[in-house]
Symmetry: C2
Protein backbone atom coordinates (compact mmCIF):
# COMPACT_ATOMS: atom_id res chain seq x y z
CA UNK A 1 0.00 0.00 0.00
CA UNK A 2 1.11 3.55 -0.71
CA UNK A 3 0.16 6.30 1.75
CA UNK A 4 0.68 9.98 1.02
CA UNK A 5 -0.36 13.35 2.34
CA UNK A 6 -1.81 15.81 -0.14
CA UNK A 7 -3.00 19.38 0.22
CA UNK A 8 -6.79 19.63 -0.32
CA UNK A 9 -8.57 22.95 0.16
CA UNK A 10 -5.53 24.27 2.01
CA UNK A 11 -5.47 21.35 4.47
CA UNK A 12 -3.13 18.34 4.64
CA UNK A 13 -5.10 15.12 4.13
CA UNK A 14 -3.82 11.54 4.27
CA UNK A 15 -4.52 9.37 1.26
CA UNK A 16 -4.07 5.94 -0.27
CA UNK A 17 -2.37 6.20 -3.64
CA UNK A 18 -3.71 4.16 -6.57
CA UNK A 19 -2.85 4.10 -10.27
CA UNK A 20 -4.88 7.19 -11.16
CA UNK A 21 -6.35 8.53 -7.94
CA UNK A 22 -5.58 9.25 -4.33
CA UNK A 23 -8.33 7.99 -2.01
CA UNK A 24 -8.54 10.56 0.79
CA UNK A 25 -8.66 9.15 4.33
CA UNK A 26 -10.41 10.39 7.47
CA UNK A 27 -7.18 10.23 9.48
CA UNK A 28 -3.63 8.99 9.74
CA UNK A 29 -2.93 5.31 9.05
CA UNK A 30 0.03 5.56 11.45
CA UNK A 31 -0.51 4.24 14.95
CA UNK A 32 -3.22 1.83 13.84
CA UNK A 33 -6.38 3.97 14.13
CA UNK A 34 -9.33 3.08 11.86
CA UNK A 35 -9.73 5.31 8.83
CA UNK A 36 -12.32 5.50 6.09
CA UNK A 37 -12.36 7.01 2.62
CA UNK A 38 -13.78 10.54 2.49
CA UNK A 39 -13.16 11.39 -1.18
CA UNK A 40 -10.71 11.13 -4.05
CA UNK A 41 -8.42 13.41 -6.01
CA UNK A 42 -6.54 12.54 -9.20
CA UNK A 43 -2.81 11.76 -8.81
CA UNK A 44 -2.23 14.04 -11.79
CA UNK A 45 -2.00 17.58 -10.44
CA UNK A 46 -2.09 16.51 -6.77
CA UNK A 47 -0.19 18.75 -4.35
CA UNK A 48 2.11 16.25 -2.63
CA UNK A 49 3.22 17.09 0.91
CA UNK A 50 6.03 15.41 2.83
CA UNK A 51 4.29 12.11 3.69
CA UNK A 52 4.82 12.71 7.41
CA UNK A 53 6.01 15.50 9.71
CA UNK A 54 8.07 13.52 12.22
CA UNK A 55 8.12 14.02 15.99
CA UNK A 56 11.86 13.29 15.67
CA UNK A 57 13.80 13.50 12.40
CA UNK A 58 16.76 11.10 12.62
CA UNK A 59 19.49 11.06 9.97
CA UNK A 60 22.38 8.64 9.64
CA UNK A 61 25.62 10.19 8.36
CA UNK A 62 28.38 7.95 7.01
CA UNK A 63 26.72 4.62 6.24
CA UNK A 64 27.83 3.42 2.78
CA UNK A 65 31.34 1.93 2.44
CA UNK A 66 32.10 3.77 -0.82
CA UNK A 67 30.96 7.11 0.62
CA UNK A 68 33.13 6.55 3.69
CA UNK A 69 36.27 5.69 1.71
CA UNK A 70 35.59 8.64 -0.66
CA UNK A 71 35.33 10.95 2.39
CA UNK A 72 38.58 9.50 3.81
CA UNK A 73 36.64 8.79 7.01
CA UNK A 74 36.85 5.86 9.40
CA UNK A 75 34.10 3.24 9.20
CA UNK A 76 31.69 3.73 12.13
CA UNK A 77 32.12 1.07 14.81
CA UNK A 78 28.52 1.33 15.94
CA UNK A 79 25.26 2.87 14.71
CA UNK A 80 24.98 6.57 15.46
CA UNK A 81 22.57 9.23 14.35
CA UNK A 82 22.14 12.97 13.94
CA UNK A 83 19.06 15.14 13.45
CA UNK A 84 17.46 17.21 10.73
CA UNK A 85 14.75 19.87 11.18
CA UNK A 86 11.12 19.83 10.04
CA UNK A 87 11.22 23.38 8.64
CA UNK A 88 13.41 22.02 5.82
CA UNK A 89 10.89 19.41 4.64
CA UNK A 90 9.20 19.82 1.29
CA UNK A 91 7.13 17.48 -0.86
CA UNK A 92 7.43 15.74 -4.21
CA UNK A 93 7.45 18.25 -7.13
CA UNK A 94 7.95 21.28 -4.85
CA UNK A 95 11.05 23.37 -5.52
CA UNK A 96 14.38 23.15 -3.73
CA UNK A 97 15.26 26.82 -3.26
CA UNK A 98 18.98 27.64 -3.20
CA UNK A 99 19.57 30.67 -0.95
CA UNK A 100 21.13 33.60 -2.79
CA UNK A 101 24.20 33.53 -0.50
CA UNK A 102 25.15 29.91 -1.16
CA UNK A 103 28.59 29.54 -2.72
CA UNK A 104 30.49 26.35 -3.50
CA UNK A 105 29.00 22.94 -4.03
CA UNK A 106 25.25 22.51 -3.62
CA UNK A 107 24.53 18.81 -3.69
CA UNK A 108 21.83 16.14 -3.68
CA UNK A 109 22.16 13.06 -1.44
CA UNK A 110 19.68 10.29 -2.34
CA UNK A 111 18.49 8.39 0.75
CA UNK A 112 16.21 5.58 1.82
CA UNK A 113 13.89 6.63 4.66
CA UNK A 114 12.29 4.31 7.24
CA UNK A 115 8.99 5.54 8.71
CA UNK A 116 8.34 4.24 12.23
CA UNK A 117 4.87 2.81 12.93
CA UNK A 118 5.04 1.70 16.57
CA UNK A 119 6.36 2.91 19.87
CA UNK A 120 9.75 1.23 20.23
CA UNK A 121 12.07 0.99 23.25
CA UNK A 122 14.74 -1.69 23.78
CA UNK A 123 13.72 -3.15 20.40
CA UNK A 124 15.38 -6.26 19.03
CA UNK A 125 16.20 -6.36 15.31
CA UNK A 126 12.99 -8.32 14.73
CA UNK A 127 10.92 -5.82 16.69
CA UNK A 128 12.62 -3.01 14.76
CA UNK A 129 11.63 -4.68 11.48
CA UNK A 130 8.03 -5.06 12.63
CA UNK A 131 8.03 -1.50 13.95
CA UNK A 132 8.64 0.06 10.53
CA UNK A 133 5.38 1.24 8.97
CA UNK A 134 6.88 1.70 5.52
CA UNK A 135 9.54 3.32 3.37
CA UNK A 136 9.90 6.59 1.55
CA UNK A 137 12.64 8.57 -0.21
CA UNK A 138 14.64 11.58 0.96
CA UNK A 139 17.05 14.00 -0.66
CA UNK A 140 19.51 15.36 1.94
CA UNK A 141 20.35 18.55 0.02
CA UNK A 142 23.56 20.11 1.35
CA UNK A 143 25.44 23.39 0.91
CA UNK A 144 29.05 22.28 1.41
CA UNK A 145 30.68 25.64 2.18
CA UNK A 146 28.31 26.16 5.12
CA UNK A 147 28.73 22.52 6.13
CA UNK A 148 32.48 23.06 6.56
CA UNK A 149 32.24 26.62 7.92
CA UNK A 150 29.55 26.26 10.59
CA UNK A 151 29.74 24.51 13.97
CA UNK A 152 26.61 22.47 13.14
CA UNK A 153 24.61 21.49 10.04
CA UNK A 154 21.89 24.04 10.85
CA UNK A 155 21.81 25.98 7.56
CA UNK A 156 23.97 23.69 5.39
CA UNK A 157 21.41 20.91 5.65
CA UNK A 158 18.34 22.52 7.26
CA UNK A 159 17.58 25.68 5.32
CA UNK A 160 13.96 25.75 4.12
CA UNK A 161 13.29 23.25 1.27
CA UNK A 162 16.62 21.38 1.75
CA UNK A 163 14.83 18.15 2.76
CA UNK A 164 12.52 16.90 0.01
CA UNK A 165 10.73 13.71 1.16
CA UNK A 166 8.20 11.53 -0.64
CA UNK A 167 6.36 11.02 -2.85
CA UNK A 168 4.60 8.54 -0.51
CA UNK A 169 5.19 5.78 2.03
CA UNK A 170 5.31 2.28 0.51
CA UNK A 171 4.42 -0.39 3.04
CA UNK A 172 5.04 -3.53 0.95
CA UNK A 173 8.58 -3.41 -0.42
CA UNK A 174 11.82 -5.20 0.45
CA UNK A 175 13.54 -1.82 0.59
CA UNK A 176 17.06 -3.08 1.23
CA UNK A 177 16.99 -5.27 -1.92
CA UNK A 178 16.45 -2.28 -4.24
CA UNK A 179 18.60 0.08 -6.31
CA UNK A 180 18.84 3.82 -5.64
CA UNK A 181 19.21 6.00 -8.74
CA UNK A 182 20.00 9.73 -8.78
CA UNK A 183 19.16 11.62 -11.96
CA UNK A 184 19.57 15.27 -12.93
CA UNK A 185 17.52 16.45 -15.92
CA UNK A 186 16.91 12.81 -16.77
CA UNK A 187 20.61 11.84 -16.82
CA UNK A 188 21.81 9.19 -14.35
CA UNK A 189 24.40 10.68 -12.00
CA UNK A 190 24.63 7.90 -9.44
CA UNK A 191 23.30 4.39 -8.96
CA UNK A 192 23.93 2.10 -6.01
CA UNK A 193 22.57 -0.87 -4.09
CA UNK A 194 20.16 0.62 -1.53
CA UNK A 195 21.01 -2.03 1.05
CA UNK A 196 24.81 -1.82 0.84
CA UNK A 197 25.00 -0.18 4.29
CA UNK A 198 27.47 -0.50 7.14
CA UNK A 199 24.54 -0.71 9.56
CA UNK A 200 21.01 -1.25 8.29
CA UNK A 201 17.84 0.40 9.64
CA UNK A 202 17.16 -2.49 12.06
CA UNK A 203 20.68 -2.21 13.53
CA UNK A 204 20.14 1.50 14.01
CA UNK A 205 16.72 1.16 15.62
CA UNK A 206 17.96 -1.55 17.99
CA UNK A 207 20.93 0.62 19.00
CA UNK A 208 18.96 3.85 19.29
CA UNK A 209 16.13 2.41 21.34
CA UNK A 210 18.49 1.35 24.10
CA UNK A 211 18.36 5.03 25.07
CA UNK A 212 15.51 6.68 23.19
CA UNK A 213 11.86 5.87 22.60
CA UNK A 214 10.92 6.00 18.92
CA UNK A 215 7.33 6.96 18.11
CA UNK A 216 4.93 6.46 15.18
CA UNK A 217 5.82 9.00 12.50
CA UNK A 218 9.49 9.32 13.41
CA UNK A 219 11.69 9.04 10.33
CA UNK A 220 15.17 7.58 9.97
CA UNK A 221 17.11 8.73 6.90
CA UNK A 222 19.72 6.13 6.03
CA UNK A 223 22.53 8.10 4.34
CA UNK A 224 23.72 8.14 0.72
CA UNK A 225 26.51 6.46 -1.20
CA UNK A 226 26.95 9.18 -3.81
CA UNK A 227 26.08 12.82 -4.33
CA UNK A 228 25.93 15.20 -7.27
CA UNK A 229 25.93 18.93 -7.93
CA UNK A 230 22.63 20.81 -8.42
CA UNK A 231 22.18 24.05 -10.37
CA UNK A 232 19.17 26.38 -10.50
CA UNK A 233 16.97 25.21 -13.38
CA UNK A 234 17.79 21.53 -12.83
CA UNK A 235 15.25 18.87 -11.95
CA UNK A 236 16.58 16.23 -9.56
CA UNK A 237 15.00 12.77 -9.30
CA UNK A 238 15.73 10.17 -6.64
CA UNK A 239 14.32 6.77 -7.53
CA UNK A 240 14.28 3.71 -5.30
CA UNK A 241 12.94 0.54 -6.91
CA UNK A 242 9.57 -0.57 -5.55
CA UNK A 243 8.99 2.76 -3.80
CA UNK A 244 8.86 5.44 -6.49
CA UNK A 245 10.50 8.62 -7.75
CA UNK A 246 10.96 11.79 -5.68
CA UNK A 247 11.32 14.66 -8.16
CA UNK A 248 12.09 18.31 -7.39
CA UNK A 249 12.98 21.34 -9.48
CA UNK A 250 15.84 23.54 -8.25
CA UNK A 251 15.31 27.31 -8.09
CA UNK A 252 17.47 30.23 -7.04
CA UNK A 253 16.09 32.31 -4.16
CA UNK A 254 14.93 35.71 -5.28
CA UNK A 255 17.14 38.53 -4.05
CA UNK A 256 15.55 40.52 -1.22
CA UNK A 257 17.25 43.82 -1.99
CA UNK A 258 19.11 45.70 0.72
CA UNK A 259 17.17 44.49 3.77
CA UNK A 260 18.93 43.34 6.89
Amino acid sequence: MRYARVLVGGHPVWGRVGQRNVELLSGSPLGGADTHVIGTVPCEGAHWLPPVVPPVFYAVGLNYPRHISHAGAATPERPEVGYRANNALTGHLSPIVRPAEVTGRFEAEPELVAVIGRTLRHATRDQAREGIFGWTIGNDVSARTWQHQDRTFWRSKNSDTFKPMGPWIETEVDALAQTTTLRVNGEVRAEFATGDMVFDPFDHIAALTRYVTMHPGDVLWMGAESTCQLEPGDTVDVEIGGIGVLSNPVRLEEERGNQS
Copy 2:
Protein backbone atom coordinates in the same frame (compact mmCIF):
# COMPACT_ATOMS: atom_id res chain seq x y z
CA MET B 1 -0.04 34.88 31.93
CA ARG B 2 1.24 31.39 32.58
CA TYR B 3 0.31 28.61 30.15
CA ALA B 4 1.00 24.96 30.85
CA ARG B 5 0.05 21.55 29.56
CA VAL B 6 -1.19 19.01 32.09
CA LEU B 7 -2.23 15.40 31.78
CA VAL B 8 -5.98 14.99 32.46
CA GLY B 9 -7.64 11.61 32.03
CA GLY B 10 -4.65 10.42 30.07
CA HIS B 11 -4.78 13.34 27.61
CA PRO B 12 -2.60 16.44 27.35
CA VAL B 13 -4.66 19.58 27.96
CA TRP B 14 -3.54 23.20 27.78
CA GLY B 15 -4.20 25.33 30.83
CA ARG B 16 -3.84 28.79 32.34
CA VAL B 17 -2.00 28.59 35.63
CA GLY B 18 -3.29 30.57 38.60
CA GLN B 19 -2.30 30.68 42.26
CA ARG B 20 -4.14 27.51 43.25
CA ASN B 21 -5.69 26.11 40.08
CA VAL B 22 -5.04 25.42 36.44
CA GLU B 23 -7.94 26.57 34.24
CA LEU B 24 -8.14 23.99 31.45
CA LEU B 25 -8.47 25.39 27.92
CA SER B 26 -10.30 24.09 24.85
CA GLY B 27 -7.16 24.38 22.70
CA SER B 28 -3.68 25.76 22.32
CA PRO B 29 -3.12 29.46 22.99
CA LEU B 30 -0.25 29.35 20.47
CA GLY B 31 -0.97 30.64 16.99
CA GLY B 32 -3.74 32.93 18.18
CA ALA B 33 -6.82 30.64 18.04
CA ASP B 34 -9.70 31.41 20.42
CA THR B 35 -9.87 29.18 23.47
CA HIS B 36 -12.34 28.90 26.31
CA VAL B 37 -12.19 27.40 29.79
CA ILE B 38 -13.45 23.80 29.97
CA GLY B 39 -12.63 22.96 33.59
CA THR B 40 -10.08 23.33 36.37
CA VAL B 41 -7.63 21.14 38.24
CA PRO B 42 -5.66 22.08 41.36
CA CYS B 43 -2.00 23.02 40.82
CA GLU B 44 -1.18 20.76 43.76
CA GLY B 45 -0.87 17.25 42.39
CA ALA B 46 -1.17 18.30 38.73
CA HIS B 47 0.72 16.14 36.23
CA TRP B 48 2.83 18.75 34.42
CA LEU B 49 3.84 17.96 30.86
CA PRO B 50 6.49 19.76 28.83
CA PRO B 51 4.58 22.98 28.03
CA VAL B 52 4.98 22.40 24.30
CA VAL B 53 6.19 19.67 21.94
CA PRO B 54 8.06 21.72 19.36
CA PRO B 55 7.97 21.24 15.58
CA VAL B 56 11.68 22.11 15.75
CA PHE B 57 13.77 22.00 18.94
CA TYR B 58 16.62 24.51 18.60
CA ALA B 59 19.46 24.65 21.13
CA VAL B 60 22.26 27.18 21.35
CA GLY B 61 25.61 25.78 22.49
CA LEU B 62 28.32 28.14 23.73
CA ASN B 63 26.56 31.39 24.57
CA TYR B 64 27.76 32.64 27.99
CA PRO B 65 31.22 34.27 28.18
CA ARG B 66 32.18 32.46 31.41
CA HIS B 67 31.13 29.07 30.03
CA ILE B 68 33.15 29.72 26.87
CA SER B 69 36.33 30.70 28.72
CA HIS B 70 35.86 27.75 31.10
CA ALA B 71 35.57 25.43 28.07
CA GLY B 72 38.66 27.01 26.52
CA ALA B 73 36.59 27.64 23.40
CA ALA B 74 36.58 30.57 20.99
CA THR B 75 33.74 33.07 21.31
CA PRO B 76 31.24 32.48 18.47
CA GLU B 77 31.44 35.14 15.78
CA ARG B 78 27.81 34.74 14.79
CA PRO B 79 24.67 33.08 16.17
CA GLU B 80 24.51 29.36 15.43
CA VAL B 81 22.27 26.61 16.63
CA GLY B 82 22.00 22.85 17.05
CA TYR B 83 19.04 20.56 17.66
CA ARG B 84 17.63 18.42 20.45
CA ALA B 85 15.03 15.65 20.11
CA ASN B 86 11.44 15.55 21.41
CA ASN B 87 11.75 12.01 22.79
CA ALA B 88 14.01 13.46 25.51
CA LEU B 89 11.43 15.96 26.80
CA THR B 90 9.90 15.47 30.22
CA GLY B 91 7.82 17.73 32.47
CA HIS B 92 8.20 19.48 35.81
CA LEU B 93 8.43 16.99 38.72
CA SER B 94 8.97 13.97 36.41
CA PRO B 95 12.18 12.00 36.94
CA ILE B 96 15.41 12.38 35.03
CA VAL B 97 16.43 8.74 34.51
CA ARG B 98 20.17 8.08 34.29
CA PRO B 99 20.79 5.08 32.01
CA ALA B 100 22.55 2.20 33.78
CA GLU B 101 25.52 2.40 31.37
CA VAL B 102 26.34 6.06 32.00
CA THR B 103 29.82 6.57 33.42
CA GLY B 104 31.63 9.84 34.11
CA ARG B 105 30.03 13.18 34.72
CA PHE B 106 26.24 13.47 34.46
CA GLU B 107 25.37 17.13 34.56
CA ALA B 108 22.57 19.68 34.66
CA GLU B 109 22.67 22.77 32.41
CA PRO B 110 20.12 25.43 33.41
CA GLU B 111 18.72 27.28 30.39
CA LEU B 112 16.29 30.00 29.41
CA VAL B 113 13.90 28.85 26.67
CA ALA B 114 12.11 31.11 24.17
CA VAL B 115 8.81 29.74 22.83
CA ILE B 116 7.95 31.01 19.35
CA GLY B 117 4.40 32.29 18.81
CA ARG B 118 4.36 33.42 15.17
CA THR B 119 5.60 32.26 11.80
CA LEU B 120 8.90 34.08 11.29
CA ARG B 121 11.06 34.41 8.19
CA HIS B 122 13.61 37.18 7.55
CA ALA B 123 12.67 38.61 10.95
CA THR B 124 14.27 41.78 12.25
CA ARG B 125 15.25 41.92 15.96
CA ASP B 126 11.98 43.75 16.67
CA GLN B 127 9.93 41.16 14.79
CA ALA B 128 11.82 38.44 16.64
CA ARG B 129 10.92 40.06 19.97
CA GLU B 130 7.24 40.29 18.98
CA GLY B 131 7.34 36.73 17.65
CA ILE B 132 8.16 35.21 21.04
CA PHE B 133 5.01 33.89 22.73
CA GLY B 134 6.66 33.49 26.12
CA TRP B 135 9.48 31.99 28.15
CA THR B 136 10.06 28.73 29.95
CA ILE B 137 12.93 26.86 31.59
CA GLY B 138 15.00 23.94 30.34
CA ASN B 139 17.58 21.62 31.86
CA ASP B 140 19.99 20.36 29.16
CA VAL B 141 21.04 17.21 31.05
CA SER B 142 24.25 15.80 29.57
CA ALA B 143 26.26 12.58 29.91
CA ARG B 144 29.81 13.84 29.28
CA THR B 145 31.54 10.54 28.43
CA TRP B 146 29.07 9.92 25.59
CA GLN B 147 29.30 13.58 24.58
CA HIS B 148 33.05 13.20 24.00
CA GLN B 149 32.90 9.63 22.64
CA ASP B 150 30.09 9.88 20.09
CA ARG B 151 30.05 11.64 16.70
CA THR B 152 26.89 13.55 17.66
CA PHE B 153 24.98 14.45 20.83
CA TRP B 154 22.33 11.78 20.14
CA ARG B 155 22.47 9.85 23.42
CA SER B 156 24.64 12.21 25.50
CA LYS B 157 21.94 14.90 25.37
CA ASN B 158 18.88 13.16 23.88
CA SER B 159 18.34 9.97 25.83
CA ASP B 160 14.78 9.75 27.19
CA THR B 161 14.12 12.23 30.07
CA PHE B 162 17.34 14.22 29.44
CA LYS B 163 15.39 17.37 28.53
CA PRO B 164 13.14 18.53 31.36
CA MET B 165 11.19 21.64 30.29
CA GLY B 166 8.65 23.71 32.22
CA PRO B 167 6.87 24.14 34.49
CA TRP B 168 4.93 26.55 32.23
CA ILE B 169 5.30 29.34 29.67
CA GLU B 170 5.33 32.84 31.19
CA THR B 171 4.22 35.49 28.70
CA GLU B 172 4.82 38.65 30.76
CA VAL B 173 8.40 38.67 32.00
CA ASP B 174 11.53 40.58 31.00
CA ALA B 175 13.37 37.28 30.78
CA LEU B 176 16.82 38.69 30.01
CA ALA B 177 16.77 40.86 33.15
CA GLN B 178 16.46 37.86 35.49
CA THR B 179 18.78 35.58 37.45
CA THR B 180 19.15 31.86 36.77
CA THR B 181 19.74 29.69 39.84
CA LEU B 182 20.68 26.01 39.84
CA ARG B 183 20.04 24.07 43.06
CA VAL B 184 20.66 20.45 44.00
CA ASN B 185 18.79 19.19 47.07
CA GLY B 186 18.08 22.80 47.97
CA GLU B 187 21.73 23.92 47.85
CA VAL B 188 22.71 26.62 45.34
CA ARG B 189 25.24 25.23 42.89
CA ALA B 190 25.26 28.03 40.31
CA GLU B 191 23.78 31.48 39.90
CA PHE B 192 24.18 33.79 36.93
CA ALA B 193 22.61 36.69 35.08
CA THR B 194 20.16 35.10 32.62
CA GLY B 195 20.79 37.79 30.02
CA ASP B 196 24.62 37.73 30.07
CA MET B 197 24.73 36.12 26.61
CA VAL B 198 27.07 36.54 23.65
CA PHE B 199 24.03 36.61 21.34
CA ASP B 200 20.54 37.02 22.76
CA PRO B 201 17.38 35.23 21.54
CA PHE B 202 16.49 38.08 19.17
CA ASP B 203 19.95 37.96 17.54
CA HIS B 204 19.53 34.22 17.09
CA ILE B 205 16.04 34.43 15.61
CA ALA B 206 17.07 37.19 13.19
CA ALA B 207 20.09 35.15 12.06
CA LEU B 208 18.24 31.82 11.85
CA THR B 209 15.27 33.15 9.92
CA ARG B 210 17.46 34.30 7.05
CA TYR B 211 17.44 30.62 6.09
CA VAL B 212 14.74 28.85 8.09
CA THR B 213 11.09 29.51 8.83
CA MET B 214 10.32 29.35 12.55
CA HIS B 215 6.80 28.25 13.51
CA PRO B 216 4.52 28.65 16.53
CA GLY B 217 5.61 26.15 19.17
CA ASP B 218 9.25 25.99 18.10
CA VAL B 219 11.57 26.36 21.11
CA LEU B 220 14.99 27.96 21.32
CA TRP B 221 17.11 26.88 24.30
CA MET B 222 19.65 29.60 25.06
CA GLY B 223 22.59 27.74 26.65
CA ALA B 224 23.93 27.75 30.21
CA GLU B 225 26.73 29.55 32.02
CA SER B 226 27.39 26.84 34.61
CA THR B 227 26.70 23.18 35.15
CA CYS B 228 26.77 20.78 38.08
CA GLN B 229 26.95 17.06 38.74
CA LEU B 230 23.76 15.05 39.37
CA GLU B 231 23.52 11.78 41.31
CA PRO B 232 20.62 9.34 41.57
CA GLY B 233 18.50 10.42 44.54
CA ASP B 234 19.15 14.13 43.96
CA THR B 235 16.46 16.68 43.21
CA VAL B 236 17.58 19.37 40.75
CA ASP B 237 15.85 22.76 40.55
CA VAL B 238 16.35 25.39 37.89
CA GLU B 239 14.84 28.74 38.84
CA ILE B 240 14.59 31.79 36.61
CA GLY B 241 13.18 34.90 38.30
CA GLY B 242 9.72 35.85 37.08
CA ILE B 243 9.19 32.52 35.36
CA GLY B 244 9.29 29.83 38.04
CA VAL B 245 11.11 26.72 39.21
CA LEU B 246 11.61 23.57 37.14
CA SER B 247 12.21 20.73 39.59
CA ASN B 248 13.08 17.11 38.78
CA PRO B 249 14.18 14.12 40.82
CA VAL B 250 17.08 12.04 39.47
CA ARG B 251 16.71 8.24 39.32
CA LEU B 252 18.94 5.41 38.19
CA GLU B 253 17.51 3.28 35.37
CA GLU B 254 16.57 -0.18 36.52
CA GLU B 255 18.86 -2.90 35.19
CA ARG B 256 17.19 -4.93 32.44
CA GLY B 257 19.07 -8.19 33.05
CA ASN B 258 20.81 -9.99 30.22
CA GLN B 259 18.63 -8.83 27.30
CA SER B 260 20.17 -7.62 24.07
